[in-house]
């Protein structure tokens, strides 16, 4: 299988539209709170309504092996709420002001409430997982949240680390981003009783697709259009997060250029850093190189699909990965 022309997200999810609506219903049910201040915050959060990529993966993986059940929709909603919790906390860490064209929680009500709201979302997700008849999702998803946090802590630990190896970079993005993609797929397949070998192949597909997603995210943070992406950009650079394009550029610069760039990033004004960096990234092909890596990750993800049933869902999963690669928002 080769990387093809990406289809729109709407076309991609048309066949599971009803079940995705079921997921929305579950999300609304889980976020319904009576108490006024939390209720208002939940309504605000609801306006972030994202691409729902992760629940779509749970549904596609599930339908590949049989009929979807209410548990699929519930787990899809739980995975999305875990994702929302990490976004609320990430926006604090990144001091982001905008998310999906809406004020972030920290911007709207301050960091303190944002910390607590993220905690509340995690607790909600765990409560719903614990209420499921099958025990696998609750046991597994709590572990995955731990992995996500470890990845983020490792990333902060390596901030300002201009010597960061690509091996560690990929470990960080697998933990902080891709693990939740893998989890969405693994849970979907598990709930449909998929054979272990195929379930694990789907999890590996998710790991690679999720890594590609993060590399594209790294690229968008540098060269994306803030209006189109709908969230604060440039925060990686401001926070001196080591993204793949930056690592590639550092490797390609001569010693003196590397030193100069390091000083510029560490000491320069944010706007000026961007102005210096963008032409350098272009000149040394660092963005193209990172994009090529994302493409390779998607190819590697495709390879994992060879052992799963040749169903319409498999095609849709392949197209989801293509969508991730091509997205500009």
């Amino acid at each position: 299988m080769r990387v093809g022309t990406p289809v729109s997200l709407e076309a991609l999810t048309a066949s599971i539209r009803e079940d995705l609506e079921g997921v929305e219903h579950e999300i609304r049910r889980m976020l319904a709170v009576e108490q006024a201040p939390v209720r208002d915050l939940m309504e605000h959060i609801g306006r972030f309504s994202g691409k729902r990529l992760r629940p779509a993966l749970t549904l596609l993986a599930g339908r590949m092996f049989g009929e979807l059940t209410p548990a699929h929709r519930t787990v899809g909603a739980i995975v999305e709420i875990i994702h929302m919790a990490t976004l609320v906390h990430d926006d604090i860490l990144d001091e982001s002001r905008m998310r999906r064209r809406v004020e972030t929680v920290n911007e709207r009500v301050g960091n303190e409430t944002a910390v607590l709201l993220g905690d509340y979302l995690f607790a909600t997700a765990f409560k719903e997982a614990a209420a499921l008849e099958d025990r696998f999702p609750s046991r597994y998803l709590a572990e995955v949240v731990g992995v996500v946090c470890r990845g983020e802590i490792l990333q902060i630990h390596h901030r300002h680390d201009f010597e960061l190896s690509e091996a560690t970079y990929f470990r960080i993005i697998e933990d902080k981003t891709a693990a939740l993609y893998a989890a969405a797929l693994r849970c979907g397949a598990y709930l449909s009783g998929a054979p272990e070998e195929q379930r694990e192949a789907l999890a590996r597909f998710g790991m690679k697709m999720g890594s590609a997603f993060q590399v594209v995210d790294d690229i968008l943070d540098l060269v994306g259009d803030e209006d189109r992406v709908g969230k604060s950009l440039g925060t990686d650079l401001e926070k001196e997060k080591m993204t793949l394009p930056l690592l590639r550029l550092l490797r390609r610069l001569p010693q003196t250029g590397r030193e100069r760039l390091r000083r510029e990033i560490t000491e320069g004004e944010a706007e000026h850093v961007r102005e210096t960096l963008l032409p350098l990234l272009q000149e040394h092909g660092a963005i193209d190189s990172a994009r090529e890596t994302a493409r390779e990750l998607v190819q590697a993800a495709f390879a994992e699909l060879t052992i799963v049933p040749d169903t319409p869902e498999r095609t849709l999963l392949r197209q989801s990965a293509e969508y991730v690669l091509a997205r500009d928002r």
Copy 2:
């Protein structure tokens, strides 16, 4: 039963010392991480080792109805790790620098890592709860964490609210503090197969004891000795949290005095606010009044114990409540 002379925490927990060591062992097991940055943070967190009041309540409630099991020790450890997670996040919200005579996580490694470490601790607690054979603790404790967060969000919502009613104040402290005491006791009794009526009586005991604990905490934040308490004090005032002594004072001041104090708290320098406030609190008996309320809460907690078995553990629970009332740290 009347409030008696408090015994030391050591004397109180002597009879469950071995099981408390089992809890420590479980906590160490749960916090063991291989990956370097998280491992170092866990070691730092380990130095906070607190009073372990909540696990002691789980063990005492459990032993009141039979032999303790490994699940009691595990749940005791889970409750303590949930408590630790809330402390790590609270210290960010309060901008605290010291906790149990050790630097707070935010002071040591910054707010960002502290947010993630708190998340990691919650995830660890939920993972361990989900791994238990009995499903009650995982279902119930996730709900309790939600209640704790709601209480804290409500508290922040009512910051600077000089008109806060005492009814809302008590609702806030029940949610943010007392609910976890109630949970520690309810889980302990549940795991020993206690009859529902007695289990619920113990939960109500915990609710009242936990509320008393928070009122004493409010008082210590104003008049405690920072060296003795071992944590940053005065943060309630700096954050304009409405504590019980302050609410009592506001109620007792004439309109003009209330207005003057409100301006002072809102606009004054922290050190100066404290200097103005302390004599006012004394003069109007606001500290004594709050202390009397804590005593009444402990008396009300005792009343809940009349229907539970008259065992040595019941005496120890009573003494725990007395300890909470008398503590100066």
